[in-house]
Amino acid sequence: MNKIIPKEEVSTIFKDGMTIMAGGFMGVGTPQELVSAVLESNAKDITLIASDTAVVDKGVGPLIVNKRVKKVIASHIGTNPETGRQMIEGELDVELVPQGTFTERVRAGGAGLGGVLTPTGIGTVVEEGKEKITIDGREFLLEKPLHAEVAILKARKADKAGNLVYNRSARNFNPIMALAADLVIAQVDEVVEIGEINPDEVMTPGILVDKILVTGGN
């Protein structure tokens, strides 16, 4: 099975109203070419699940600036003033989630769990509308899973089977998102033959990766 696809083909994947998960933290570890492909697809009314909305011209920021997103689920929006502006104008629905809870909700979505119990947010506005469960005398919030139709990831290297190796702090949310979407597309700097990545060094197994977009190198 050939997982490597050209960029023109990638942009045909994204549709109006899709839920898209994007790896990256402040744009580091975000697949910028795949973000461009979403823009080129003209898909709109997207529900975006990402750590943050980065800045206006980096990471997932351009999706917000170009008004492709109707709802964003993120932990931080402060570095992209356009997110705040659209939220205040009522153009964009923003669900703010503590970053550790965000990771657990994505993990739950990918691990077949019905949710997670976390103490984070107890006694704050985060607990509003959520079920509280007491275990051994301590209160926890029930936080529900996050799942997407498409996850767009960034890795340094893939083999043709889709096994991924990330680079430094660009790993961040990518590995957990690989588990939490129906279709997983990875943008990689280089692709190597099967067998060229030591199985001990694989960070995301290739069975989770459906499509590979290769940028740079060959």
Binding site: A74, Q99, R107, I122, R168
Partner: protein
């Protein structure tokens, strides 16, 4: 190190540094807390955790790597012996009690150890990022902030008015005037910064507090 010419932020960072023990795993918030390592005694080495996915955070090298940033998204470095991991693991470290100390800024702190530092309704809603998890999971939570707001109003209150980051989570408050611990009986003045008298602290603090015996004499 002389206190002369130190800015309030430097005074605060230097005092926070005295709270660190050799070998502590420490997470520093953006801004003032990042000054703390500059004031660590030579025999105290801490291991800095960066919530975007590694331990061993250090200053950026001359060779900037776009894939190596701190929790503020700025270029950073990693020291020998450091390790990278994903965000799920990073927040397992944070929430799971594997971080000894977190140092964060504050907009308001109150006598019950409540902290507000993530939003001002109608003005600033940047999001909480990792702050709520840090104050929930770190073994010791230190709030490092200037004693009063830019307008001169007290930031240490009987009860916070802004939306909370965490309820009953603060262990220690360090300002350029004083150090308070949060106890079950409320705030206790632990220390006065050099040259500061008790009356000044009373004037600028909008919460009642007990005073440790040896202070203010």
């Amino acid at each position: 190190m002389s206190d002369v010419m130190m800015t309030p932020k430097q005074i605060i960072a230097a005092r926070v540094a005295k709270e660190m023990k050799d070998g502590d795993v420490v997470n520093l918030g953006i801004g003032l807390p990042t000054l703390v390592p500059d004031y660590l005694p030579k025999d105290v080495n801490v291991i800095l955790q960066s919530e975007n996915g590694y331990i061993g955070l250090g200053p950026a090298n001359d060779e900037i790597d776009m894939d190596l940033v701190n929790a503020g998204g700025q270029p950073a470095g990693i020291i020998p012996g450091g390790a990278f991991f994903d965000s799920f693991f990073s927040f397992s470290l944070i929430r799971g009690g594997h971080v000894d100390v977190t140092v964060l800024g504050g907009l308001e702190v109150d006598a019950k150890g409540n902290l507000a530092n993530w939003m001002v309704p109608g003005k600033m809603v940047p999001g909480m990022g990792g702050a709520m998890d840090l104050v929930t999971g770190a073994k010791k939570v230190i709030v490092a902030m200037e004693h009063c707001s830019k307008k001169g109003t007290p930031k240490i209150l009987e009860e916070c008015t802004l939306p909370l980051t965490g309820k009953g989570v603060v262990d220690l408050i360090v300002t350029e005037l004083a150090v308070f611990s949060v106890t079950e009986e409320g705030l206790v003045l632990e220390d006065l910064q050099e040259g500061v008298d008790l009356e000044t602290v009373r004037e600028k603090t909008a919460a009642s507090f007990k005073v440790k015996e040896f202070i203010g004499c």
